[in-house]
């Protein structure tokens, strides 16, 4: 069971992720399964990237959307568990993190839609055919002959 002082971190080596037009898009590079999270889900994802605790995420959701604390807690817990189950995130143990600035309260709270992790397995074969190599950053070529000298 996840606690509210837990922090999650994206599994950057295997997962490509980006928020585009307010929607979080994630691809598991190991198996080609891709995911989307809209609105509240995208906010939660951005906060996970900022290594915020689940408690801080609940608070941010509650401050930005017309939702009760109980509902926000339940939804953040559920979504975090789904992300863990899909191997998109891991529990963050320690290290540095950059925080998303949430001190400024929004002008008004907007209507709430429960966050959903939409899972798409229809293009797994295609995306697994030649995806970006998991765990590989930009790597300059090193000639094997030079390396042996």
């Amino acid at each position: 069971m996840l606690m509210f002082d837990n922090r999650l971190q994206p599994r950057d080596q295997e997962v490509a992720a980006k928020v585009i037009d307010g929607e979080a898009i994630l691809i598991n590079l190991a198996n080609g399964v891709y995911y989307s999270m809209d609105k509240v889900g995208a906010l939660i994802w951005q906060m996970i990237e900022g290594r915020h605790t689940l408690g801080e995420i609940v608070e941010a959701v509650r401050r930005n959307y017309e939702v009760s604390s109980d509902q926000a807690e339940a939804d953040v817990q559920r979504l975090a568990a789904e992300l863990l189950q899909e191997n998109l995130v891991a529990i963050f143990e320690d290290g540095a993190w950059s925080r998303v600035n949430l001190d400024a309260a929004p002008e008004r709270r907007v209507p709430y839609e429960a966050p959903n992790l939409n899972i798409y397995r229809d293009m797994g074969d295609l995306l697994a055919l030649d995806p970006p190599l998991p765990g590989l950053g930009d790597t300059p070529w090193k000639d094997p002959e030079d390396a042996s000298k």
């Binding site: 490509a16 590079l29 891709y34 989307s36 055919l129 970006p132 950053g137 930009d138 790597t139 070529w141």
Partner: protein, 81 residues
């Protein structure tokens, strides 16, 4: 006798000009944008009837007859929408 393997075997060939190796971070970005475009199209938010725009410049007809014509395109720019 022929037997089918249960799994598909695939290999990656790493060489000096692997784009996915040299430009790994850009490649990730491109895949994410493609997935987003695919989802938008599926939801009807984006129409990709003709995903390519072909901008032909310096078009010149270099041969013509009753049955066929041959056109020369000195410069063709193809752009994703």
């Amino acid at each position: 006798m022929m037997e089918l393997l249960p799994d598909v075997l695939s290999f990656r060939r790493l060489h000096q000009t692997n784009q996915s190796r040299l430009l790994a971070s850009r490649s990730r970005d491109e895949f994410l944008n493609l997935v987003k475009a695919h989802l938008d199209q599926r939801r009807g938010l984006r129409k990709i009837e003709d995903p390519f725009r072909v901008d032909v410049r310096f078009h010149r007809r270099i041969a013509d007859s009753d049955s066929c014509s041959v056109d020369k395109f000195d410069f063709v720019l193809i752009e994703c929408n």
